[in-house]
């Protein structure tokens, strides 16, 4: 028995069993099957497979229906007006900015204090200035003595060093210079001169 090569007919064979073909197609398939032993055999197999389905158990419909929950429609999420959404975004952005800014300031402050302390650790402290300011010495009588607000020593000691230098005594200055000489920030020798690799062949 030769195998049928008409795939279209073969694929329609199950539709014959289920009566799902329109009359023209059904007539065409039946005419083909009448002359094709392979398709007849296929159709017999399909009939046997279809009838084998009777083994399924019967279902108690009422029992199934009793298990079905009552209908609860899905409530769509309420769409907020566009303006509310914009305001929400602005508030969120402001909060994020405040948190990021505050965090950055804290980090800078922390980092600046630590580094300044390290720099200042090797520098002798400046002598205290006189408790009486020049302004107080020259003030007019009758004018109340307004004490200037106490100036917080800058945490950034490196920046404050320049102004403190003037207040150093000669001995402290010498000591500072000697300390600075010990720094090894500069290379010990001049860099080697760059040797040209130009062989002179180029024009």
């Amino acid at each position: 028995m030769s195998k049928c090569i008409d795939n279209e007919i073969q694929e329609m064979l199950p539709d014959v069993l289920h009566g799902a073909l329109v009359s023209d197609a059904r007539a065409r398939v039946e005419a083909h099957v009448a002359s094709c032993e392979s398709c007849r055999e296929d159709l017999d197999v399909l009939r046997a497979v279809k009838s084998a389905a009777i083994f399924a158990p019967s279902i108690d419909v009422d029992h199934v229906v009793r298990q079905i929950p009552p209908y609860t429609p899905i409530v769509p999420a309420v769409e907020r007006p566009a303006r509310t959404r914009v305001v929400s975004w602005l508030v969120a952005a402001s909060l994020a900015l405040a948190v990021a800014g505050g965090g950055s300031a804290l980090v800078i402050r922390q980092w600046g204090g630590t580094s300044a302390t390290n720099v200042a650790s090797g520098v002798p402290s400046a002598p205290r200035q006189s408790t009486q300011t020049p302004a107080a010495a020259t003030r007019e009588p009758g004018i109340p003595d307004v004490k200037p607000a106490p100036v917080e020593p800058s945490r950034a000691r490196g920046l404050a060093l320049a102004s403190d230098v003037d207040a150093l005594s000669d001995g402290n200055l010498v000591q500072l210079m000697n300390e600075m000489d010990k720094f090894d920030a500069l290379p010990g020798s001049e860099p080697e001169p760059v040797i040209s690799v130009d062989s002179g062949d180029s024009l």
């Binding site: 046997a48 497979v49 084998a52 009777i54 083994f55 199934v64 209908y71």
Partner: protein
């Protein structure tokens, strides 16, 4: 729309769904009665041996709980097959995980179905059932959906999560395997 035994045109699935949504419980009974046996047959054909009634029930419970997501792009039956197939896969995964492999006795199978429908399993039907066992799970699903349920290749592709072309190939391979099995027996 086919006429009902009373002569009135049979309500479509969508009409029954809308009636159930508006509070008519009889619509659910009609829908379950219309599709439950097909679901049971599909489960049996796909190799389920036990708990088919529970499987069909779970399919309907899930389907009715999410009927709002059914858009009517496929038929309700195709959609139900899709849900049932997922439940079968979940069940098989759970069984594999629990490693409680209870072999199905041949006598159990025959007695279960024979008692249910009052039919004696004839030798020819047993051979056909064995030939289906020789198919791969996907081939078996495609073949039984096509032959026993009469689904189109497009609908089968939806149920098994494949393409129409792949469904055709599975069908052709399946019928060749079944024919060869029945010849060799």
């Amino acid at each position: 729309m086919s006429p009902s035994p009373e002569g009135r045109p049979e309500e479509t699935d969508m009409e029954l769904i809308n009636r159930w949504k508006s509070g008519d419980g009889r619509a659910a009974t009609k829908l379950v009665g219309r599709h439950s046996q097909a679901l049971a047959r599909f489960a049996a054909s796909a190799g389920e041996r036990e708990g088919i009634e529970e499987l069909v029930q779970d399919t309907f419970v899930r389907a009715f709980a999410s009927l709002d997501s059914f858009r009517g792009e496929s038929t309700l039956r195709t959609w139900l097959f899709t849900i049932e197939r997922r439940l079968m896969l979940d069940r098989r995964r759970t069984e594999r995980r629990s490693k409680e492999t209870v072999p199905v006795e041949e006598s159990d199978h025959v007695s279960e179905y024979g008692a249910l429908d009052g039919l004696i399993a004839e030798e020819a039907q047993e051979r056909v059932r064995k030939s289906l066992d020789a198919l791969s799970p996907t081939q078996r699903e495609v073949f039984t959906l096509r032959v026993q349920q009469g689904l189109s290749y497009k609908e089968i592709a939806v149920v098994v999560g494949s393409t129409e072309g792949a469904a055709r190939v599975h069908y052709h391979n399946a019928i060749q395997t079944v024919k060869e099995f029945l010849k060799d027996e």
